[in-house]
């Protein structure tokens, strides 16, 4: 059965994480769009760590004998989703980065060409 201490520790950890996220957004160091997945993670973890019956029913449902393991599993799953999301963000950024560098190379050449005295064609 779930120890009250575990409930307390888990809930405290989640509250700390959520607080950190809010603070990061407040200081403009984290954009809302990238914070949402973390807040969802924290929300679900908070609910599961406080509302023991929900955690019990959930671990019964998926066949996990020891409810705290289910809590870890859910946390792991969410972290996995967040990481995967970041990989897609990274891919998009590197694609945009490539396009940007290519545009710079092409524009720089055009500028140099303009400064150069005209050659006979």
């Amino acid at each position: 059965m779930i120890d009250t201490r575990l409930t307390f520790v888990a809930a405290l950890a989640v509250v700390l994480v959520l607080g950190t996220i809010v603070e990061l957004i407040r200081r403009h160091r984290l954009q809302e769009r990238y914070a949402l997945l973390w807040i969802a993670t924290g929300g679900v973890m908070l609910v599961l760590s406080i509302w023991r019956n929900a955690l019990h029913s959930f671990s019964d449902l998926i066949g996990v004998a020891y409810p705290p393991s289910a809590l870890f599993m859910v946390a792991g799953l969410f972290v996995f989703v967040v990481l995967l999301h970041y990989s897609t963000v990274l891919s998009r950024l590197s694609e945009q980065n490539k396009t940007l560098a290519q545009r710079i190379a092409l524009l720089e050449e055009r500028l140099r060409d303009r400064d150069r005295p005209r050659r006979a064609a």
Partner: protein, 234 residues
């Protein structure tokens, strides 16, 4: 007819002047476009003083993006024809005329210089030959046309080819995927047997780990590529 010779170069100060001069000597009609892929040596300056147009990427993007930049230049400046030649001197500019023939005659949209269809000097290691044969076989199956060399970076193309690659070109180790891309867009491709030289300076970018990455990356790209819808003809 405007012709561009796109030369991707990364730290090729030792060979770039000779490569540019050789292309200009082989066919003076070519505008030589050297794409300096973030070199830390004097590649860009040397290429410029040798009479090439130089596109300087602000940092190293990899061969695929470098080639694409050159073709974007050709596309935006309305070139009719473009060839791609490595900056390390392994491609022989005297073979350009042969490579261009099927493009000029309108027989194909893309011509690839291969080392195997009638190769004379090229003897890669067993492992490399296996890898090349594996991908050549795989690509042949996918595109339903015999392809012998999917690693060659010695290519010529017409406007359709330029437009396709300017818009969409694989990131790194691009040749295999590019071949499939050509067929999916219903462009006609032919292979032209050419001789290639040993590298003059610098060293090949192939190592064990990179080979493994190469195999994994290209295989993944090929199979996932098959799951994409086929683009409309154009």
């Amino acid at each position: 007819m405007r012709k561009a010779a796109v030369v991707p170069a990364y730290n090729e100060a030792g060979s770039i002047v000779a490569v540019v001069a050789e292309i200009r000597a082989a066919d003076p009609e070519f505008e030589v476009v050297v794409v300096d892929d973030g070199s830390t040596d004097a590649t860009a300056e040397l290429a410029g003083s040798a009479g090439a147009t130089v596109l300087r990427l602000p940092y190293n993007l990899g061969i695929g993006a470098a080639v694409q930049t050159g073709l974007q230049y050709a596309n935006e400046n309305d070139f009719d024809l473009a060839v791609q030649i490595d900056g390390d001197g392994q491609h022989d500019a005297r073979e350009l005329e042969q490579l261009l023939a099927p493009i000029v005659s309108g027989e194909a949209d893309i011509a690839v210089g291969t080392r195997f269809a009638g190769a004379r000097f090229y003897r890669p290691s067993v492992a490399r030959r296996l890898g090349i044969a594996l991908f050549a076989g795989l690509v042949s199956l996918i595109v339903r046309q015999r392809v012998t060399d999917t690693t060659s970076g010695f290519r010529a193309m017409n406007r359709r080819g330029i437009r396709l690659f300017a818009a969409d070109y694989p990131h790194d180790y691009p040749e295999v995927e590019a071949t499939v891309l050509v067929f999916r867009h219903r462009l006609r491709m032919v292979e032209v047997p050419v001789a290639m030289r040993q590298r003059e300076t610098g060293r090949s970018s192939i190592t064990i780990f990179r080979s493994l990455y190469y195999m994994g990356k290209v295989s993944l790209a090929l199979f996932v590529g098959l799951l994409r819808p086929r683009p409309a003809a154009g």
